[in-house]
Symmetry: C2
């Protein structure tokens, strides 16, 4: 890609559709945001997306040359075909051929990825991965659910069908230990224990069991309370709220132990809204990780767990970076920096 | 490597040291096996190893040209340095510089790997990976412990410090559910639930709880009974022995679900002695995998779980193959066959 190139990135979400133009020198030049028209079906969304892409492309062409278009989408998305497979947050879109719809609308190829993989790429190229000078990382996005993306030797590892990195569905707690049912059909996955949704769900559970006075008062004052409200309560010393975040930390520590023992990467990055409660959950996280992963213990300070440096723009930036990453050669093994 | 090349491979075990010469056309030409002199310390072992390598190299040179030397060793082994880090099966060898000792003794470089990674490479190049025509796999070796090796795009993924693939230490069962303590310091790892040692341990536990008449008779008749004896009992219809293998299957299914959701590989291979009880544990394995991994369900028949094709020679063959693999280019993504 020449130095005058710009790319267009799309962050498709269940609520908003964001499209941005980007250059390596200037970053995000301009962004467009609109509501995702869920009710009108996937073809309407694809049509909106193509219009935004064409508008931004028209504005930037002349000054810059178009180097590629990257799209980050919720999954499960079968790659490289680009077909939705029962996406839980896009009801009714199962089987929709996203790649074909966008490429047909634009008349040119796109680079399509799972949104969590795109966010991991951004964190790798522009965030903590860059700061720490490493070539491989695993990112966990703790939001409504728990998403994940794996970068190996500078490339997204998306597996056989684009579905790798679903670390929100690592097994953590089994039935008898209060493992909560997960939307994926399993029990005791990381997702219901380390997501914002999971924090609220556990708080409601504790209230219904009785005795959780602080949480009960919170709900009485603010029925739509969320994980941040529970975090504030915990910071104020409420023992039930503290216990909820301690379990978030234990769950993350157990999940990270499995990942560290399997992948032996230099960096694990926690992003998404719930990562803001790092002060509350990280002590339990490191206690479990230290106890449960001998690879963590043996590699000592070489295995890092940190919070993400990029905020809510990670997904959009990652989409903009997809064309650059597709072009880049994987760094030679000898250039690995740990 | 030219077509007339031979390689030498070493399979270092806690009991035996095996050295073989290999060509791609003829396979294993000759092997030497001797006892690993554990009590005499690692320097004595390294000296034995170098002598065997030199003897085989001398015999083959002239007829063939030496293309490289591969060594598979128990871990944890820090790579690329090649230093033992608290290896549980080589007591007292912590900190020994294996690479330096062998390369110093031979006066030439070697390719050093964890033994489970070498076995995975053999299964990839010569076993089920070849038969199924795939480029990536994860192998689990169910023996005294549970070892693992990951091949991604035709290359061993050994991580930042050579310790990747330790899938025997995936979290499966936590405390309250009978998660057994693991030698690694954690609780509820795959290893104590899906190894030959774990099967015997569970049998002894059931006998001590009383009521397991079949297992108690087995122990009375054969105090040193092993996992194969328990399997025979299960095949004869003993409910306690059957339950032990059912739990092996459940544990493997849960571990595989975590791996499938994280890595989305086309192939997972079970090797080692306990894989011979596939008929006993595989129904529970697939039941858990189907229930717990939506990536497995969505990829359908594309995600395969099979038993290894190579037997006890996998480790030695893998060591012989290390020089070939080090030379090979990773296949292009476009050539992936799923």
């Amino acid at each position: 890609m020449n130095s005058n190139a710009f790319t267009i990135g799309v962050d498709l979400g269940g609520t908003n559709l964001r499209v941005g133009a980007y250059t390596q020198a200037l970053g995000l030049l301009e962004t467009i945001q609109l509501r995702t028209r869920l009710a009108d079906g996937p073809q309407a969304m694809a049509s909106d997306m193509c219009k935004c892409i064409q508008r931004l492309a028209g504005q930037c062409q002349g000054k810059f040359s178009l180097g590629g278009i990257g799209v980050g989408s919720p999954g499960p998305l079968e790659l490289p075909a680009g077909i939705f497979r029962q996406p839980p947050n896009l009801p009714g879109w199962d089987g929709f051929e996203l790649r074909a719809a966008i490429e047909g609308g634009l008349g040119m190829p796109i680079i399509l990825q799972n949104d969590a993989n795109a966010a991991a790429l951004a964190e790798y190229l522009l965030g903590s991965g860059k700061t720490m000078g490493i070539n491989s990382l695993c990112m966990l996005t703790l939001g409504t659910g728990v998403g994940g993306g794996i970068i190996l030797h500078g490339k997204i590892w998306d597996g056989m069908t684009g579905m790798a990195g679903e670390v929100g569905h690592l097994n953590i707690w089994a039935e008898a230990e209060g493992g909560m049912a997960c939307g994926c059909g399993s029990l005791g996955c990381l997702e219901p224990h380390a997501s914002a949704t999971g924090v609220r769900r556990r708080a409601v559970e504790l209230i219904s069991l009785g005795g959780a006075a602080g949480l009960a008062s919170l709900r009485a004052a603010k029925p739509a309370f969320d994980a941040r409200d529970v975090a504030e309560l915990a910071r104020g010393g409420d023992a039930d709220a503290e216990a909820i975040y301690e379990k978030v930390g234990r769950s993350l520590g157990i999940g990270l132990a499995s990942l560290v023992n399997t992948l032996n990467l230099p960096l694990y990055v926690l992003g998404g809204g719930l990562a803001g409660a790092w002060d509350l959950f990280s002590p339990a996280l490191f206690e479990e990780l230290e106890r449960r992963s001998y690879v963590y213990r043996l590699t000592g300070g070489k295995t890092q767990v940190v919070t993400a440096q990029l905020g809510p723009d990670a997904g959009l930036l990652g989409a903009c970076l997809l064309p650059f990453a597709a072009e880049a050669k994987a760094p030679a093994e000898s250039s690995r920096r740990d």
